[in-house]
């Protein structure tokens, strides 16, 4: 990636600027829904970036990534229900629980590859979904309202919509930075090497299984953070947080934006959720347009939006 002002870099800078200015615009026009929508977009962008770390760079297509949104969210919700509302306790626990589950799923599913991996991650995510439905004390199928957002002493008040939005945005930028550093580190090179030719990487002497597992756990943990944020954003948790179509949405975001880059999924998240919003404004049956659109993206725009931008630079 060059440091020059290529169309791609200019576009990325533009997206970040727009994201930073959303609350200002909303304040000026009095459109509070916009802040809510973009908070959601930014949170799901964190999840999509974390998925892209394993999927785009590691070649591990997880169809169960939304499960960490659920685990992170339920960690916050369950602790809140039991009277522990300190974010300093809730959030680390959300991350730890997600990492632990990712460790178990990763240790099993990384023994296989290809289509097995897709199905297994999907199946284990579905298991947690059913467990959440069975948790009568925490709302079962209907979900549960969280009456108090995570408390951070006097540090930051999450009930303030602006403060919460900028916190999410800061965390998104931090996530992108960390993932970017990771991808370009030695660790990231091993992961990408294992994606292109795992046998060769092993022959050179890298224990690829352990590298991939660590990567998988880290991505799960990042997504758990997004889950904790999402629970705070909606003040509500339900099994729908980790419905398997949500995992599909995350994959779509990564592919739509472009899997080749760290920032791609952010573009994908913005594009998908704004598109959903626009389409649902046009017709009640908006998924009848969205579904075939996914197919068309797969068939004709494999590089995603980022790929189109890269094409501009080349052309």
């Amino acid at each position: 990636m060059s440091g020059r002002l290529s169309p791609r870099n200019a576009f990325v800078a533009g997206v970040i600027t727009i994201l930073a200015l959303v609350p200002v615009y909303a304040e000026a026009t009095g459109n509070t829904f916009m802040v809510s929508l973009f908070t959601r977009i930014v949170i799901l962008a964190i999840a999509a970036v974390s998925l892209n770390l394993i999927m785009g760079f590691g070649g591990m297509v997880s169809f169960g990534h939304a499960v960490y949104l659920g685990i992170g969210g339920y960690a916050v919700g369950i602790l809140a229900k039991e009277g522990i509302d300190s974010g300093l306790l809730q959030w680390p626990l959300a991350l730890a629980a997600s990492a632990l589950f990712a460790l178990a799923v990763g240790a099993l599913s990384l023994r296989t590859r290809g289509v097995y991996f897709i199905m297994i991650t999907l199946a284990f995510a579905q298991m947690v979904y059913y467990v959440a439905i069975g948790l009568d004390r925490y709302g079962g199928d209907d979900g549960m309202t969280i009456y108090k957002r995570s408390q951070f002493g006097g540090l930051i008040d999450l009930s303030n919509k602006m403060a919460f939005y900028y916190l999410c945005l800061a965390l998104l930028l931090a996530t992108i930075y960390i993932v970017w550093r990771l991808v370009h580190s030695r660790f990231g090179m091993v992961i990408q090497g294992a994606r292109s030719n795992e046998r060769r990487m092993r022959a050179i002497g890298f224990p690829t299984y352990r590298y991939k597992l660590l990567c998988f756990v880290f991505a799960g943990m990042l997504c758990g953070l997004a889950g904790a944020l999402l629970a705070n954003h909606t003040d509500f948790i339900s099994p729908a947080l980790m419905h398997w179509t949500r995992s599909g949405d995350l994959i779509v975001m990564a592919v739509l934006g472009g899997m080749g880059t760290v920032f791609g999924p952010v573009i994908g998240a913005v594009a998908l959720l704004v598109l959903e919003e626009l389409l649902s404004g046009i017709t009640e049956y908006w998924q009848i347009i969205l579904g075939p659109l996914f197919l068309l993206v797969v068939l004709f725009a494999r590089g995603g939006i980022d790929g189109l931008l890269a094409g501009v630079r080349r052309g």
Partner: protein
Amino acid sequence: MLYLIEQCLNGIQLGMLLFLLAAGLTLIFGILDLVNLAHGSLYMLGAYFAATFAALTDSFLAGIGLALLATLVAGMALEVIAIRPLYGRDHLDQVLGTFGLLLFFNELVRLIWGPAGLTLSLPPEMLSAVEVLPGVYYPLYRLVIILATLTVALLLYALVMRTRIGMLIRAGASNREMVGALGVNIKLLYTLVFGLGAALAGFAGMMQAPLAFVQIGMGENILILAFVVIIIGGIGSIRGAFVAAIIVGIIDTIGRAFLPDLIRHFVSYSAGSSAGPALSSMLIYTLMAAVLVFRPEGLFPAARR
């Protein structure tokens, strides 16, 4: 004891439905090398077709027959229009593309039949119960499902192993180009295989329809169960799908029926009531994990190229 026998039969019946879905999935995966998330949509379409045609013709059997035909045609049309470009693509592409199709079908069904869902009622003569063992009565219709599915399984076996079409299908699975070069219309063959898988899924949907509600998204949860069946049985193996489907069906049903009571014996009543359903839904996934630890390729791995 009577309850146990009844639950075992229920488990076998669920297993049979899972087999119909898993057989289609594994056939499509093994031969066309395609991951099809829209398989559950065909299950749903089958049920909707059956409910509609049965209402139109006023006959359960005619409804099933017409619906089978309709699902077959719908499957083949789907293959020609949308699935064909996905052959030979990355699995991720296939997953995404068929995920889009699934959203499309859910919405299409909502557009055509409305959000409320339909019911398919059984003819009165199927509503009775039969005495399967002295003193054990079991609903006739569930027995019909088991028998019908067993017949389909045998027919499928005969078709794939004993007919010319089946021979071509197996040949196409091991070397697509060679079969094409020998003058077989491989495109048509693939369309037929996909249609066959669609019809199997549709048949499962319409068999299940009288027992449950015909509704949008009904194929999704059972599709994921079918994935579990395939993982346990081994991808591409119909025999593995059959054995794994029955194992999963029985374990899931028995677990749901008995585990909550069992837990209540050991811990307090209220804790058992809340943990029971959660734990029993984990059972088959635990089984899947165990299979993965000891036999990552599944119980009956198909010989791969």
